[in-house]
């Protein structure tokens, strides 16, 4: 009797371990930070073309929807999501703000000339510290902002499904 209970416990234990690891197979390797911070950070940055200093308060000041997209010309996934952003940029209800991350001006300008400019403003982050203020871990990363709050963040490139999700938010 005691032996049977021991076997049963062993089987239950191994099934549990198997289940935990099996479920873990589906988990993404990409770490998405869980944070309570929903307010947008305050920072000052230079604009890409005009080289003018701009405070975040002057950018996100209306009850509009904003999409902050962190991009770089050297980032390959950014090229994939770029056409989607251009399409989304045609929607008048949302303003797309670009944050050019650790990039060379000439390459970034070439990128914009080649693939188009979906951004109403492009800010420059030469050393990556502004992206850290946003809690970003790399490029591309996108934040959906409404009423000065971050309502959704997307780590990695956007795809058509996520664009549909963004469009459902701004309807």
């Amino acid at each position: 009797m005691r032996n049977r209970i021991a076997y049963l416990l062993l089987i239950i234990f191994f099934s549990f371990v198997f289940l935990v690891f099996y479920r873990g197979l589906d988990n993404s390797n990409l770490y998405t930070p869980k944070t309570d911070v929903k307010d947008i950070p305050e920072f000052t940055s230079k604009t890409f073309f005009e080289k003018k200093s701009l405070n975040s308060r002057d950018i996100f000041n209306k009850n509009n929807f904003y999409l902050l997209n962190i991009w770089a010309s050297w980032c390959v996934p950014c090229r994939d999501e770029h056409p989607l952003l251009i399409n989304l940029g045609k929607n008048k209800k949302i303003k797309i703000i670009g944050l050019n991350y650790k990039d060379n001006f000439n390459s970034a300008e070439k990128f914009i000339n080649e693939f188009g400019n979906p951004y109403s403003i492009i800010l420059v982050d030469r050393n990556g510290t502004k992206a850290i203020e946003w809690g970003a871990i790399g490029v591309p990363e996108t934040f959906l902002i409404h009423k000065n709050k971050i309502i959704k963040r997307y780590v990695g490139p956007l795809n058509s499904k996520l664009i549909e999700e963004i469009e459902s938010y701004i309807k």
Binding site: Y31, K34, V37, G128, I137
Partner: protein, 121 residues
């Protein structure tokens, strides 16, 4: 005498280095306790990824702005969650983490004690 004055002037001048050295020391201490979120098992101090390089710069800037070590940890956990710290802070979310080893130790001790008492009988 002139030589002595010059000697002391140089000595005092070079002593200011320790201020900077302290800053670097605390910066290294903090970055060693930060997990590089996009690397596998590396601290920010050890990593040369773009994220880690920027984070080192942020820590350096915050120290220069006069932030204390705890304030920097708080700033970063606000942005990235508790996961960024190798040494998790003691709060209600980490009670189990801190006390579980102790509980297991006590439980094991109790089992051994019970066995010993049984043997003596």
């Amino acid at each position: 005498m002139k030589f002595l004055k010059l000697f002391f002037a140089i000595l005092i001048f070079f002593n200011f280095n320790t201020l900077k050295a302290d800053e670097i020391k605390i910066q290294n201490k903090i970055t060693k306790n930060l997990r590089c979120l996009i690397c596998q098992g590396q601290s920010v101090y050890d990593s040369d990824s773009e994220f880690a390089i920027s984070l080192k710069l942020v820590v350096k800037n915050k120290i220069e702005e006069g932030f204390s070590e705890d304030q920097i940890y708080k700033f970063l956990t606000n942005k990235y969650g508790e996961w960024i710290l190798y040494d998790p802070q003691f709060n209600k979310n980490t009670y189990i983490l801190w006390f579980l080893p102790l509980l297991i130790f006590l439980f094991g001790g109790a089992i051994i004690l019970k066995k010993l008492i049984n043997i003596k009988k």
